[in-house]
């Protein structure tokens, strides 16, 4: 079934066992992002150590795509430099906009390639991007705060 392209096992696993879904008591920046068309919400904390992502944690409500995506993102960017995180994020954005023509760079995106199927469902791309936008926003704020 075509739907299986969207709901890959990896996504359902992350949805049922989300990673880093517990807000850290301290952080350099905390952001709250909302998907106004569906009501999904996420709060995300970022702590930097120099230009390295020392901690990412989050809490939120939303569909399996949005929740799995932020779980995967948290795993991916933790311990990376902001430049590396940016590279991953750019690659993920390109994958989401590919309308099903790309499978994603597995070396760079790891579990996030499981979200490739989302790009065939235009209404769900914003679900997948919710956490990524929140991370982008938080990391910019954290960097500004630490400078």
């Amino acid at each position: 079934m075509q739907l299986d392209n969207l709901y890959q096992e990896v996504i359902l696993d992350h949805y049922k066992n989300p990673q880093h879904k517990k807000l850290s008591p301290t952080y350099d920046a905390q952001v709250h992002h909302i998907n106004p068309s569906c009501g999904d919400e996420i709060t995300l904390n970022v702590t930097l150590s120099g230009d390295t992502v020392a901690n990412v944690s989050w809490d939120g409500v939303g569909c399996s795509i949005s929740q799995a995506s932020v779980s995967i993102l948290s795993d991916l960017v933790l311990g990376k430099t902001l430049a590396q995180a940016q590279e991953i994020s750019d690659s993920f954005m390109a994958l989401m906009q590919s309308k099903g023509t790309q499978t994603g760079d597995e070396n760079l995106l790891e579990d996030a390639v499981a979200l490739a199927g989302v790009s065939q469902y235009p209404a769900r791309i914003k679900c997948a991007l919710l956490g990524w936008m929140a991370f982008k926003d938080a990391s910019v704020q954290a960097l500004a705060k630490n400078q």
């Binding site: 969207l6 709901y7 569906c38 009501g39 795509i65």
Partner: protein, 414 residues
């Protein structure tokens, strides 16, 4: 004439197409927008094909025909609502209709009955669509008036127990929905209307979810303004209706100004045409108005009482079928009195977006989310719901497809 769903379905060409690799389209999203019968599609395109010209202008035959078609549509709407023809205003949407009333009230000068100032009160309800919430919230912010609201009970009904403290001598306007687009609840109006009028206020009714589905007579409802959108009533997009009592429309200042809505203009001042023209600045959405006329003619021919009974039967069948599904909770009244054919629900831990996506893969089209009534879903403690909304072209087979889809989704995501 008894209701023949099979014949009705044949009138709607889109219902014979397939979706998602050959699946029969099961369209259960009429609360968002309805499908269109061939005669509406034809009426709109024939206007462009044969009669297109700017109405109320032009010294030529096409302008005459266009004006006849447009004004003919106005008469059909008036008859449909039990109103006078001069009380029917064409807008581009129900959202525009509600903003028209709110902004026009905000334009009212001192001495005008609609003038709002600090100390005056605007009353809405917690179950309003954003379109009947934000215009009033913003009007209150602009004028200093106080926004008050009726709360919603856990069963999804309006809590009228504190009506005495909600509608007071300070109430200038009560704006509420006739039927909730999320809960399906049909609101009782008589007590609210009586109190609002006793306070000297007016009642604005959002009838988007009722006019397409049940017989409506504005005189019997005794409200002061009523709006609905064409596209939810098997008509085209881009046309809405605002009905207002003639004496009130004559006192209400205009909202949009410009061509067509004037009586006389100098470089420094202008006076207004009488309603409805006063509220129809610019060249209107003519083809869409004509299409709406065809839509209401179609609905009338089927019979609004027939449509209402058909949907009531669907709701009864759907409600009992849904309630048999483990972990499914209806968000809204489960008793069938004073409720329409809109069923919102949650299914265990399956997020509505995921459920909606699964149903879509089976050809079943539903709406998911907060349905533009975010304060309501927050109040009811659900971040989002799945909504199935019925119309004249739906059958028990559509509900069976929905139920099968939900059960299969439970296995898929289980």
């Amino acid at each position: 004439m008894s209701f023949n769903a099979g014949a009705v379905i044949a009138d709607f060409p889109i219902l014979s197409r397939t979706v998602r690799d050959g699946k029969r389209l099961v369209y259960l999203d009429s609360g968002a927008t309805s499908q269109k019968p061939t005669e509406v599609i034809d009426a709109e395109s024939n206007f462009y094909r044969m009669h297109n010209a700017a109405v109320h202008r032009g010294a030529h035959q096409l302008a005459e025909e266009a004006t006849d078609a447009y004004e003919g549509a106005r008469s059909i709407v008036a008859q449909f609502l039990g109103a006078s023809v001069n009380e029917i205003i064409f807008t581009k949407s129900a959202t525009e209709s509600l903003n028209l009333v709110a902004y026009a009230m905000g334009n009212a000068p001192a001495g005008n009955r609609f003038q709002l100032k600090s100390g005056d009160e605007i009353v809405i309800t917690e179950m309003e669509h954003h379109a009947n919430l934000i215009p009033w919230q913003q009007l209150a912010a602009r004028t200093g008036a106080t926004l008050k609201w009726f709360e919603v009970t856990p069963e999804g009904r309006l809590d009228l127990s504190n009506i005495d403290s909600i509608i007071t001598s300070k109430t200038k306007v009560v704006a509420l929905t006739h039927q909730s687009n999320v809960l399906g609840t049909i609101n009782p109006l008589s007590e609210i209307v009586k109190r609002a009028h006793a306070a000297g206020g007016v009642v604005v009714l959002d009838a988007c979810q009722s006019v397409p589905h049940m017989p409506i007579n504005v005189k019997e409802l005794e409200v002061d303004f009523l709006t609905f959108s064409g596209h939810k009533a098997v008509g085209p997009t881009g046309v809405g209706i605002l009905w207002g009592r003639e004496d009130l429309l004559s006192e209400l200042p205009p909202f949009l100004t410009g061509g067509s809505m004037i009586e006389n203009v100098t470089m420094t001042s202008a006076t207004w045409a009488k309603a409805p023209k006063k509220f129809e600045a610019g060249v209107p959405n003519m083809a869409q108005a004509v299409g709406l006329g065809a839509a209401l003619t179609y609905l009338n021919r089927i019979g609004m009482d027939q449509i209402f009974s058909h949907e009531k039967a669907l709701t009864k069948y759907g409600m009992s079928a849904l309630l048999e599904i483990p972990d499914l909770s209806i968000v809204g009244p489960t008793d069938l009195e004073m409720r329409g054919g809109t069923l919102s629900f949650t299914v265990g831990d399956i997020h509505p977006h995921d459920l909606g996506q699964y149903l879509d893969s089976q050809g079943v089209a539903v709406r998911t989310g907060h349905h533009c009534a975010w304060p309501l879903t927050r109040k009811l403690g659900v971040p989002a719901t799945t909504r199935a909304s019925f119309y004249l072209y739906n059958t028990n087979a559509d509900i069976d497809a929905l139920v099968d889809g939900i059960r299969n989704a439970q296995k898929y995501f289980g």
